[in-house]
Symmetry: C2
Subunit: 277 residues, 2 copies
């Protein structure tokens, strides 16, 4: 019996094997969103099904999650299948079912990386105020899962209290920057990084400064580091920068980057989000 209780994220991504590549899992109440679980935790659960698989090759390079239907509080069955394994790459299909119906799925590429020429074209947004100088997000109406993160917005947050006073003030864009880490702090790994990729408030909220019904339909994350590098970063804050490019007839995109505090690009991530009106 461990003296340290499990971190809520470890509880949330815990899977019970029932057959090779087959697991059961339960949505964790701490990661609840307005409707169903936080999408990032579903991404982490699905990725974990591949990470724990005995036939896994290497580490995650890419993950695409489809949020196929609302997830309720009941048990999920998760099936993870390495559909094609090559010499250094592996392509996965991972599906989650509730009451026999598909509720989420993901594909993933895992790979054994070799050391090569490397470079970064993206520009690290240096000169940000340190996380310790910023207030932690604290707003009575924030969804439950946000309390599992220490969110310190630098800019581009929705000011709903202000919007309620003045009426919504549409912004010229939906760019946001924030420092974020798991709460309580937890050493980074691929499940937590996959989950952080979905931690941004929907761009349409930021752009329009108003709440509307939304739901991510698909999210793709590319991972640019290995697990050793994530361990070295430990539980330090990560800088997240997000924006949208277009909102058109019910669907909007989002692109974002996650950087370590010293300027390593950890992940780039993209999603399409349904919005109602």
């Amino acid at each position: 019996m461990s003296a340290n209780p499990l971190h809520p994220l470890d509880e949330a991504i815990a899977l019970t094997p029932t057959a090779p590549g087959r697991y059961t899992a339960n949505p964790h109440p701490a990661y609840a969103n307005a409707v169903g679980p936080f999408g990032g935790i579903t991404a982490a659960q699905l990725l974990n099904a591949a990470l724990l698989h005995p036939q896994r090759l290497g580490e995650p390079v890419a993950q695409t999650v489809h949020f196929a239907a609302p997830i309720n509080d009941e048990v999920m069955q998760i099936d993870a299948n390495p559909l094609r394994t090559n010499r250094s790459t592996q392509h996965w299909l991972i599906q989650a079912f509730q009451q026999g119906q598909l509720v989420a799925m993901c594909t993933a590429v895992f790979a054994v990386r070799r050391e090569t020429w490397s470079a970064v074209d993206a520009v690290f947004p240096g000169g940000q105020p340190a996380p310790e100088t910023l207030a932690r997000l604290n707003w009575s109406k924030q969804p439950r899962f946000t309390h599992c993160y220490d969110l310190r917005y630098i800019n581009g947050m929705v000011s709903l209290d202000q919007a309620m006073i003045d009426g919504p003030q549409e912004q010229p864009n939906a760019q946001s920057s924030l420092w974020v880490r798991d709460q309580p702090p937890r050493t980074l790994d691929f499940p937590s990084l996959a989950s952080l990729c979905d931690v941004f408030f929907p761009r349409v909220f930021i752009r329009r400064q108003r709440w509307t019904p939304i739901g991510t339909v698909t999210m793709t994350s590319y991972f640019h580091v290995d697990s050793q590098m994530l361990t070295q970063i430990g539980s330090d804050y990560v800088l997240g920068c997000a924006r949208a490019q277009v909102y058109h007839n019910g669907y909007s995109d989002q692109s974002a980057e996650l950087w370590s505090a010293d300027g390593t690009l950890l992940a780039t991530t993209h999603q399409m989000v349904y919005f109602k009106d």
Copy 2:
């Protein structure tokens, strides 16, 4: 017998139904790349398997293609399955096999869109020289499929002839802009748009001004228009803008946008690319 022969792209994406949701297809020699077919044509074939499916709902909003293994010249079997159909969205899994082995797969979201508040945050790069004022790409060593496109680079092309004289000159980034359309010209639709999402030369070629073995492992495309809008654009040139954010130990990302000549954002697209050294 038709007086007009089929466009090569229509030949390339033609599918022969053999059972509900099951088709056979052949790689088309006109769309050959250095090894196997051009990835964009595989994306178009897989998308077409959903477009032709009797249970299809709405139009494509997102597509993620996995290039799981080299595709040879033999027949492919394509299985398209709408895994979850909701009121206005549908999640697809489409798999392609050769000799019983998975060679490519895609997931897709289709949706019935409603008219809503819409906006574009991305900035259309106006002031580009008109396509008619630019030379068409014409280089003896270009892969066969590139002759199926009228490619007019504005900037950010690889200058291999120069590199052979001076030695490779590494560039500060891998930003490219080009005008492109199908050759011969063909009215845009979702298969051709899906295919154009992969038309950019690998970013690592541009960045390093040298040829290295590469292969896209996964590509995600988000579509921001409907088929009626694509028909209106017709066979006009499309502006493509691409860049990379990071190259790290064998894998590099790419993000790109495709714009109509009058500034409508048609698609945003992202991929992870393996490179050898």
